[in-house]
């Protein structure tokens, strides 16, 4: 297990290094922070001084190595735009994104998996066909359009939920959370549903195909023949065996939700990190973009690791040595 962890760590640091070079060069080629920050009534002298204060007047390679040596010391740099250290800037927005992501995943699992198992068990029923149709629709709707539709229905017509923003938060261990607060929950619901719809459809399909496959396995026939009652059959024998793909996908999707729920965060004006990423790319704020993507790579590494550990727990045949 230890060598497995070490190998993973080694691979991920190489990954992070390659990624940081790509982003660094990419941002450098595409945009110039001085051009974005300096207003038109800056004199030539002001512009040169600004470039040197930002440190972008040095050759790219020098900038990159000074960045690297700072990262090693835990300093990810200072945002060009906000003039604040980058790490706190990202971290203070992380809870907002995590909350919505977890809520969306929870909704997806709680609705998607039961629906999928039901569909898998009752293949010929009309309800199954309806579910199958709905998941196809849910899969195909563009995310931003669906978000606007949700706002239109729940916020503008019915006026039951707010259209955007985060609302009141409760501070818990120094972290601002919306979960424990009615107003916060109301604000969280629409973005979470918007993210969850796709997840529900995916989990339904995953659970259905898994169920169909597992139900015809010999051990299931045997279990049935042995006279195991249906609820226990589903819980103990079916569920456990369809969980592996579901856990894999949930892990990946969770990472995806945290890293790239940019569209949803923008449309609902949810102050999370996705929105920060978009704004930072727009403003040529390279330190934020680089730090953000490095953190995201690390997060995926951790999630994949957790998924691997979960495999071993779910399936005793899997061992890491």
């Amino acid at each position: 297990m230890l060598s497995f962890v070490l190998r993973r760590l080694g691979q991920s640091s190489v990954l992070v290094l390659i990624m940081s070079i790509l982003v660094f060069v990419g941002m450098y080629v595409v945009s110039d922070p001085v051009a974005v920050l300096a207003s038109d009534d800056f004199t030539e002298e002001d512009r040169i001084a600004l470039a040197s204060e930002l440190g972008v007047d040095r050759p790219l390679i020098v900038q990159y190595f000074s960045f690297l040596s700072n990262v090693v010391r835990g300093d990810f740099g200072t945002s060009f735009v906000y003039n604040e250290p980058v790490l706190p800037l990202i971290v203070e927005r992380l809870p907002a994104t995590l909350e919505v992501a977890f809520l969306a995943i929870a909704i997806g699992l709680c609705i998607g998996v039961p629906l999928g198992i039901y569909s898998g068990l009752n293949r010929k029923k009309k309800t199954t066909k309806t579910i199958s149709l709905l998941t196809t629709v849910g899969y195909s709707i563009p995310n931003f359009w669906q978000a606007l539709l949700l706002i239109l229905v729940f916020a503008v017509w019915l006026k039951v939920l707010p259209a955007s923003g985060r609302g009141d938060t409760t501070t818990l261990f120094g972290i601002e959370l919306s979960f424990f607060n009615l107003d916060g929950l109301r604000h969280m619901l629409l973005p979470a549903i918007n993210l969850a719809i796709y997840k529900i459809c995916m989990q339904t399909r995953l659970a259905r195909s898994g169920t169909q496959e597992v139900m015809f396995q010999d051990y299931m026939t045997f279990a049935r023949a042995k006279g195991i009652p249906r609820p226990r059959l589903i819980r103990r024998h079916l569920m456990r065996n369809i969980l592996i793909p579901i856990v894999t996908i949930t892990g990946l999707e969770l990472g995806g939700l945290i890293a790239f729920s940019t569209v949803t965060e923008t449309v609902f004006n949810w102050p999370g990190i996705g929105k920060l990423l978009l704004d930072s790319i727009h403003n040529a704020d390279r330190p934020v973009v680089v730090a953000y993507l490095i953190l995201i790579v690390m997060m995926f590494v951790v999630i994949n690791f957790v998924v691997d550990v979960l495999y071993a727990l779910l399936d005793p045949r899997i061992r890491y040595t």
């Binding site: 595409v30 945009s31 110039d32 001085v34 051009a35 974005v36 920050l37 300096a38 207003s39 038109d40 009534d41 800056f42 004199t43 030539e44 002298e45 002001d46 512009r47 001084a49 600004l50 204060e53 930002l54 200072t78 735009v81 906000y82 003039n83 604040e84 606007l148 706002i151 239109l152 916020a155 503008v156 019915l158 006026k159 039951v160 707010p162 259209a163 955007s164 923003g165 985060r166 009615l182 107003d183 109301r186 923008t266 449309v267 609902f268 004006n269 102050p271 929105k275 704004d279 790319i281 727009h282 403003n283 040529a284």
Partner: protein, 529 residues
């Protein structure tokens, strides 16, 4: 059933606390104010936000605000009389010492980074308190523009632990004997957010700011008990938030939003001509311009006739009527004609036949090839206007290749001078001459002129007029120089003015909005009908 559902929804809405408080104005900005500290950042939303809390010696309308008037002692020395009886939010009286302190803070570099807003504040050499209610500003060169620049000198209270007692002596590094300036946190938690403005700081997070009325305000107190500013960068979300009742007023609704409000009794929109000119910058370099080529290898844009032909080809009325529904005005010079100090100029003609003839006369009967660049995400309807312009020019025989790109990419190419023709907008908060002096004066590092002259334009008549303006403290004479400079530039047309933008606000129908021309949104301009 349907009715029950609606009733249920209504009950739920009330029960869940969706009801609005009547006397708190909830506004949605189109981008987030960057800080409570008035100095590090410029930009319309940061400025619009901070004006609720801080005031300057000169107001946004160029009139005295925390001052009562000023006199020029010499072209390099200005004495400003301060308003008496003004108190800060912390109860301290406003005096000349606060002005000196604020000027020091303006010049001071936090973490060795200049204040973006104030780094171009001109050749200020000294700020001296003359008694409690007058301040003298000294500059290196004659600097009449200082009157306009004082709008950006937000006045902070010179109180608190880090400010030593007694008079403060200004120096250009902003050090001024002050041991420590308030930090970002001090501003954000409100300790240092002490101004004289009509509202007091309550809380600030980047996407949400809350303020309450300053009941001891020296002027007329606001009708609003409080103000909440949300920042919603996505225009669809902003508009949906308005319709859903999350906000009372939003800035910068799109043309589609305005159309959608047609026949809606609950919401309305307001429009105000703004100080921004949208124009096409043409690189007049005689050696040719990037992305522009003619069959004979010459430089078409270096020929004034070609530039006039391109202007003649544009139907400005069609652009303002069709694309903006009348919420924009045809331009006839580089500064909005309604901006104080702008000269009277004739309207720009539209005549495609004449344009064709002029192009032939210039030696390009078969046109030439032009790459035309525009930012895709910067200006309302910007891409559509760029498409329209491209079509107008193709009609007179120019082969136009339209290239739209995101602002950050566009800005880099512009700075690197890689674009021979591009679409651009310039605001004029400091008057008409200020813009043309940066955009069209011959580049001169020592005088700080022409740093944004992407046209590579150079004209003796224009430079002479601008240099005369730059040192003229008499307002009427200064306007005359501006007029001369403007006429010189318009005759040569190194850029083609297209239209003046309007600022737009969508809001609840029971509100009136008396909008501002400097593209900022504030609670002062909103009242109940």
């Amino acid at each position: 059933m349907k009715k029950t559902f609606t009733t249920l929804a209504a009950v739920a809405a009330v029960a869940l606390g969706g009801a609005a408080q009547a006397d708190v104005l909830r506004m949605a900005y189109s981008s987030a104010p960057r800080s409570v500290d008035p100095y590090p950042f410029g930009g319309a939303t940061t400025a619009g936000y901070k004006e609720h809390i801080y005031e300057a010696l000169v107001g946004h309308d160029d009139q005295p605000l925390l001052s009562t008037g000023w006199t020029w002692n010499s072209p390099t020395s200005l004495t400003v009389q301060l308003r008496e009886g003004v108190k800060f939010h912390n109860g301290e009286p406003f005096t000349a010492r606060d002005v000196v302190y604020s000027a020091c803070r303006m010049m001071f570099k936090i973490d060795d980074k200049r204040n973006l807003l104030t780094s171009s504040m001109g050749p200020l050499t000294d700020v001296v308190a003359e008694g409690d209610h007058a301040v003298r500003f000294e500059t290196k060169n004659p600097y009449p523009l200082w009157i306009q620049k004082m709008k950006f000198l937000s006045i902070l209270s010179a109180s608190g632990g880090s400010v030593p007692d007694g008079p403060i002596t200004y120096d250009a590094t902003g050090d001024c004997g002050i041991t420590a300036y308030p930090t970002r946190d001090d501003f954000e938690n409100g300790d240092a957010a002490v101004g004289t403005g009509p509202f007091k700081h309550v809380s600030f997070a980047k996407e949400f700011a809350v303020m309450e009325r300053n009941d001891d305000y020296w002027g007329e107190a606001s009708k609003w008990e409080g103000v909440e500013i949300s920042s919603v960068s996505n225009s669809g979300a902003r508009f949906a938030g308005l319709l859903a009742g999350d906000y009372d007023l939003i800035e910068n609704p799109t043309s589609e939003d305005i159309t959608a409000l047609d026949g809606n009794d609950d919401f309305d929109f307001s429009s105000k001509p703004a100080w921004r000119t949208m124009f096409v910058v043409l690189d007049v370099n005689a050696e040719g311009a990037p992305g522009v080529s003619a069959a004979d290898g010459s430089a078409p844009l270096a020929n004034a006739k070609v530039r006039h032909a391109m202007s003649l080809a544009i139907n400005r009325d069609a652009i303002t009527d069709r694309l903006f529904g009348g919420n924009a005005a045809p331009a006839n010079q580089y500064s909005p004609s309604y901006r104080a100090g702008a000269p009277e100029m004739p309207a720009l003609e539209y005549d495609a036949d004449k344009a064709k003839a002029l192009l032939a006369e210039a030696g390009y009967p078969d046109g030439f090839t032009l790459q035309f660049n525009a930012p895709s995400d910067r200006y309302p309807n910007g891409t559509r206007v760029a498409q329209a312009l491209a079509q107008y020019w193709s009609r007179i025989g120019i082969t136009v290749e339209l290239n739209t790109q995101p602002w950050s990419v566009f800005a880099k190419a512009r700075k690197a001078r890689e674009m021979g023709a591009f679409f651009y907008g310039w605001g004029h908060p400091q008057g008409p001459a200020q813009m043309i002096s940066f955009a069209f004066a011959t580049r001169d590092k020592d005088l700080g002129l022409g740093s944004s002259n992407y046209s590579n334009y150079s004209s003796e008549a224009f430079d002479a007029a601008i240099k005369a303006w730059a040192v003229e403290t008499d307002a009427a004479k200064a306007d005359e120089h501006v007029g001369n400079a403007m006429r010189a530039a318009m005759a040569d047309m190194p850029g083609i003015p297209v239209y003046y933008t309007h600022s737009l606000w969508a809001h609840r129908a029971d509100l009136t909005v008396d909008g501002r021309q400097d593209e900022r949104t504030s609670a002062f301009m909103v009242s109940y009908k």
